[in-house]
Amino acid sequence: MNSALLIILAAIVLSAAVGIFAGRKVKMNLENWTVGGRRFGAVLIWLLMAGEIYTTFTFLGASGWAYSRGAPTFYILIYGTLAYIASFFILPAVWKFGKRFGLHTQPDFFVKRYGSRTLGIIVALIGVVSIIPYLQLQLTGLGFIVEVSSNGAICSNAAILLAFVLTCAFVFTSGIRGAAWVSVIKDILMIAAVVIVGIGVPRIYFGSHGQMFRALAEAHPGHLVFPGATADLDVLWVMTTALLTGLGFYMWPHIFGSAFSAKSAETIKRNAVIMPFYQIPILLVFMVGFTALLVIPGLKNGDLAFLELVHRTYPSWFMGFVGAAGAVTAMVPASVLVLFASTLLAKNVYQAGLRPQAGEETVLRLSRVLVLVIMGFALLFAFYLPNALVNLLLIGYDGVTQFFPGVVLGLFWGGVKRRGVFWGLMTGFVLAAVLVFTRHDPFLGMNAGFVALVINAVVTLVVSHFSRARVEDGRQMA
């Protein structure tokens, strides 16, 4: 057994053990399982939110984009910052609304605010459809990282199976609390790996990051300004994409839902103030991708750039360390994704749509079973049809961002009506899907999801305006 393999396996098992242990002394009910009893203080909230932000995409995708596309990848740096600013204003209000009415999920918010179960079911279904491809991406990414970094010693399917059976175990027992505690391990490993490699490789090959950028500017003059190495991702695309993803980030059901687990609105607000500092490691990830472009040009798959460069530069035990960081980096977001997907289905589709008389205990039991079912589905896709969901992934962000007008207007403007939100959401979602699937993204140089979001907001406002006279909105539809 080689040392890399040992380190990776140890990290996966240790993480799962911490996750299972985290929920041991807590009596599990739906409130504790989904929102941690609304008791997370500043540190746990920070770890949980940070844990959700750095996914396998950060490792492989951001460096891969830097490698193969250049400057357009900077949108990642920008949108995170915009998202934290938006969260400073939006999340404390979401938290207060959730506390007041005992909400657990994002569709709960729509049901309570707009008095419509149907709207809740639609929001839940769009949420689940957006989550599942994202979950599968974590699985596939993990297999990829582990296989490359253990030098083929573990076949990727075995690694995926082990990591995700254990992830299911800690989600099942500990719920959101498990995810928050595993984030401790994840954040330490991930930041260490990114800082060491990100500062290390430009120095090793060029003496400093400044020299590396100069060499890159010589070799590929267009790479470090928009549109980089692409034809259609110009400055307008970067602007609209940063806005879309920045406003949409907290509209992901699992991230929106995580806000409920804070112990106060104040905790979330303070957290939002410091989060932008957490973007800086992404700069280091870019540097790895840029260095790779100069040192190992011509890779067919840019997403390999990070791992290939580490492989070429560092001893194999360090490769194992990077693999371990990558593995846990997939497990944490996956655990939160699967937790919220299952709660959405159990509470907001099954209970709300099919069996209103089901009690909280039934909902919790069903959610736990669905964790296994959903993870099972994601595993099947990862093993047998790894590319089947790629198209869904494309519209994940475009889809969840369409919740934005309903959430923000719902919190801050009494004039918005159920009808307006319903038609806005439908128009936005369908328009985004049509533009993306007919290959009109970018549309007139703009991100197609952003175009859909603007239309969505207009429809929401106009329809709300014209349904003002109606009284239906104050009432529960039940």
Binding site: A71, G115, A265, F412
Partner: protein, 83 residues
């Protein structure tokens, strides 16, 4: 309860200041992009475009801190934001 939310439309002074401060990074990181899409000069070893983005990301927490204080100072109810 949809109607109950209507009260929150009126905006406190602290919230206005906070929104104004928060607008700055949006201007600098989104609207300014067409004007700073340049490779040179290099600053701190970074190409200009990247330097500009990193600079404003680094400044954002300080702006948000000021926004936080503004809400605390000017909004009644001990900085509970918009409510």
């Amino acid at each position: 309860m949809g109607g109950a939310m209507g009260k929150e439309v009126r905006m406190a002074k602290g919230t206005k200041i906070a929104l104004g401060l928060a607008l700055i990074p949006f201007l600098m990181l989104v609207l300014a992009l067409p004007f700073i899409n340049h490779l040179r000069p290099f600053v701190l070893g970074l190409p200009f475009l990247l330097f500009w983005i990193v600079l404003w990301i680094f400044l954002t927490p300080f702006l948000l801190m000021a926004a936080y204080w503004a809400e605390k100072k000017f909004n009644k109810g001990g900085g509970k934001g918009e409510s």
